[in-house]
Amino acid sequence: MRNTRPTPAFLVGAAIVALIAATALLSFFFTPFDPLQVNAPARLQGPSLQHWLGTDNLGRDLLSRILVGARITLLVGVVSVGIAVLIGTPVGIWAGMRRGAVEEITMRGADILLAFPALLLAIMFAAIYGASTVSAMAAIGLASVPGFARVARAGTLQVMNAEYVLAARAAAQRPVRIAARHVLPNITGMLLIQCSVTFALAVLAEAALSFLGLGTPPPVPSWGRMLQESQQYWGTFPAMALWPGLAIASAVMGFNLLGDGLRDWLDPKLGRGKA
């Protein structure tokens, strides 16, 4: 019962994600203004032909800062999801294939790590190592490991009962080979869904962390930090909070929709009802 066409949710999500990626790439070659250029006379301006989204409290061009801010969002998302996939997947497959004590210990470990949400771990890391992009990525990545371990284990348990795996085991293939040839390809879809959902959570955690002033230090623009810098102007000049806020919300929605769309598309049985 595999749908052949992607759902609208998938297409909308993919379009938003592609737009953000294109934005981040574009910012390396072109921004309307230098995102760090302070221009006091032009402070707190509304949208104009010159400054499409207006300027912030220091007269910096908001559009340029939003464009460059996409880089941090994507960088933190890609690296932390990467860490989580690379650690969580092998651990989950190992647990699912070996069962017994290995499974019990790794999964209880995952349970304990789950009591530490990404943002809490990131705040702890900021306390220990100081606020930086690297400690944010490491913390968010580590906090996302249990999710991947659980998904990989659940998928592995299903696959291990399939006849082709029984055949491979009967043919005395080495476990590593079975994992690589039979298990991994069959759980890739589930892992992709998990990547997308985790990415959305990573974007959220990074935004909150930057808002708290514990993410990427200034002057590098990030959407969360732009929100924090706007705090004094919420009453008088809400546009300064509006644009980074919209950017964060659309990024989160993009990755969530992508995940939902993938779930409905790749495995309708996994779907928790189409939203």
């Binding site: 304990i112 702890m124 708290l212 919420w234 969530n256």
Partner: protein
Amino acid sequence: MLVRIAGNLARFVLSLLAATLAVFALMRVLPGDPAAIAAGENATPEVVAGLAKQFGTDRPLPVQYWDWFSGLWRGDFGVSYVTRTDISPLVADKVQVSLILVTLAMALALAIAIPAGTIAAVRHNKPSGAVIAAASQLGIAVPGFLLGIVLVSFFALRLGWLPANGWVAPGVDFAGFLARLVLPVIALAGVQSAILVRYVRSAVLEVMHEDYLRTARAKGLSPLGALVRHGLRNAAIPVLTVTSVQFSALIIGAVVIERVFVIPGLGSMLLSAVGNRDLLTVQSVVMVLVAITLVVNLLVDVLYTIVDPRIRAAAQGER
């Protein structure tokens, strides 16, 4: 049933033990010397050694862990390395603020999500159901602190209906206490209700196809009446699970919301401790936040046993 609850309790104690080990390991085994951090970058080795002796961080790690752990049991978190004051009274003070915020937010989130999710399921092929589902998809994407900013700039700063931030103890000025709670509680509950709506909707959708609902309707109950009398209790179980998982998200969300609304709870305490590099205070607050999550998980596990007659029956079978 009692056996089952005892099992839940045992699992809770084990998780709590593991959590203390995890927090201690993260905070003390990985990083550098707390004495060096407290002394600052330009301190001489003698000053650092003196501080390490004073803090007790020159002792072996297992000894330090035991010291901290046995203190926790007595409700004693020790003395801050930076402010040199007792951490426990401060935690006791702040935890009340955070618990009020988080409990009210979860109650509001459920009060919105249960009716909205049920309507979305009952009318899943009508426009009203689709509107709720779409609104929840949008709501999930708006982080709580962002919703907080929108609420503050509109309802507090533009319209002036409510205070923009701050906190008053309920004993001092109850009306002021409530007025200051409205916006932060809505901000926290917003995202949670959007997430919970989806789970309520799919749980109710699942229940709607059950035979006992058809029987109830054959008896003459209206579709909604049948659902409320017979369906919701069964839909409650998956929703309870999500509620307990979401509680930890709510607690960490409150840390950020406290910053937006300048509320003196555990979140503010944690962030100022991070700013001061006050590692023992960070360690204590993190431990309290994790412990609250685990207590909520325990309560939900116990609730299952009470809500679900099947689990109760299975437990009696075990005995």
